[in-house]
Amino acid sequence: MKRAYWLEHVVFAYGDKPALTIDHLAISAGRITALIGPNGAGKSTLLELLAFLIHPDAGEMYFFGQPVRREDVLALRRRVGLVAQSPYLLQGSVMDNVELGLRLRGIGKEQRHRRAMDAMERVGLAGFEKRSVRALSGGEKQRVALARALAPAPEVLLFDEPFTYLDQSNVRLVEQVLSNYARQSGNTVVFSTHEQVQGIALADESISLFAGRSVGAPLVNLFRGALRNGVFDTGKLAIQVPRALDQGSHLSVDPEEIVLSPEPLNSSLRNSFRGRIIMIAEEAGRARITIDIGEKLNARITLESLQSLGLELGKEVWVSFKATAVKVF
């Protein structure tokens, strides 16, 4: 798989405050990648880095195989488009904003107009071109910013928290736009979200960020605690982890790796807990079961398994997983 980005030992700090520490991170070309993480995890900073707005303090960054150099940033910035979480629109009309990127690239008036109109139509803003940006709602502003980023047809589209300010009907529309932009035109799309479900449903790949680090684990079933002698203690629960792990204050359990059973399993799975089902929900075509085992734990299973195991709210169930289903960081 061709890589749009490759980051190696990248460090970025705001003054003394480290914001990103990334050992290795790859973003595939022509696919949709979700950056998933809680607020403050460094998602926006990573997007700014990918948009070449900030430069790493240390480490190497490659864009489509070429090392990123400070003197090339203008040319590089013109190959990507960024939609900020709370975008800034320049004074003037919607059209003034949407065609700005094209104008800065020296594209002639006629072509500019045509491409801007096309971009506006794609985000459902046809007929908005003469409106003043002052009269727009938050969701409309975000779609203007999306059209503005799309109009120059960047190879990479970066979108910070696309779904935070949109109402339900526009979420579908924007999902469609992002999906088409990658799947029909072969471009790369990277978006950030703090919602696991959104990330997994729309994206081909996902990267989890936690406290400025890419953690290579889905950020569900996230616990804080202390690691001692191969056991991670959350205060309420002691979880067996691989012996090789020796440091970290956070632990996550992959919900796909959790086995549910009505009876205790006689198996090699090193973690086994008895709990009670407190929630069952459908999520992206699968069942998400929340079990209280002292801590709340989420498991993801197929709808068929949900039926055949006869799982119901309030029922007792055994929860088992391998020590290797656990990530500590």
């Binding site: 013109r78 975008p87 800065l104």
Partner: protein, 230 residues
């Protein structure tokens, strides 16, 4: 009291009968102050926008010096340039003393820190997302500069107008460098100060009203610009 009322009506007559002397003075004033403002703004606005857009060592010191020089008494500027332009001064050969050019230079130097300081404030109080947005859209440094100018144009206009207001209303520099020469360097402020003492109270009053008119017009324009921006 009669003296004041009579003079007031005499002044109005001068204005509404288009007394050539009054209008020549008003015109000289506008010409000198406008030229000084344009010259100062051409340097101060780009300097202010530029120094506000980048981080550099000594920015605080620059800010402090600008603030300090805004408090410079106009007569001190007059005094310094008098020394430079007087015949025995280092620039004496240029024979600039008592010419409109000397007043223009003095006033431009006087209002430069004011315009630059306000221009810096204009850019610094602009939305912090402006520059990142322009950069991510692929704007070159020159394009960024142009777009920052255009996005903050109203605040910059306020800065320039404030400079003009100070130039047209000051008397120290115009008097020391211009010398109140009729038809050449006699501005509204120098005429008010000097002609009144020669007994021409009506002329002084007429010019005072014109000066207020100019000052109020500029202020009114700025307020409406501010409203349309808000």
């Amino acid at each position: 009291m009669d003296y004041f009322v009579d003079s007031f009506f005499a002044a109005l007559r001068l204005i509404f009968q288009f007394d050539p002397e009054v209008y020549r003075i008003v015109w000289t004033s506008l010409e000198i102050s406008l030229t000084a403002t344009v010259c100062a703004a051409l340097l101060a606005v780009p300097a202010g926008v530029w120094s506000a857009s980048i981080e550099f060592k000594g920015k605080r010191l620059l800010r402090r010096s600008l603030n300090a020089s805004m408090a410079m008494p106009t007569v001190m500027i007059g005094l310094i340039f008098y020394g430079l332009f007087s015949r025995r001064g280092p620039l004496g050969e240029l024979a600039l003393l008592y010419t409109p050019t000397a007043v223009i230079i003095g006033e431009a130097v006087l209002i430069f820190p004011l315009i630059m300081n306000l221009a810096m404030t204009a850019v610094e109080s602009a939305d912090p997302r402006l520059l990142p947005t322009l950069r991510s859209l692929g704007a070159s440094p020159a394009q960024q500069f142009g777009l920052v100018l255009s996005e903050t144009r109203l605040a910059l206009l306020v800065a320039v107008a404030a400079g003009f207001g100070r130039a047209i209303g000051e008397v120290g520099t115009a008097m020391m460098l211009g010398g109140n020469i009729q038809g050449l360097t006699r501005t509204m402020t120098t005429a008010i100060a000097l002609e009144t003492s020669k007994g021409e109270f009506e002329l002084g009053l007429a010019l005072g009203m014109m000066l207020l008119l100019v000052a109020f017009s500029v202020n009114w324009l700025l307020q409406s610009a501010d409203r349309s921006a808000g």
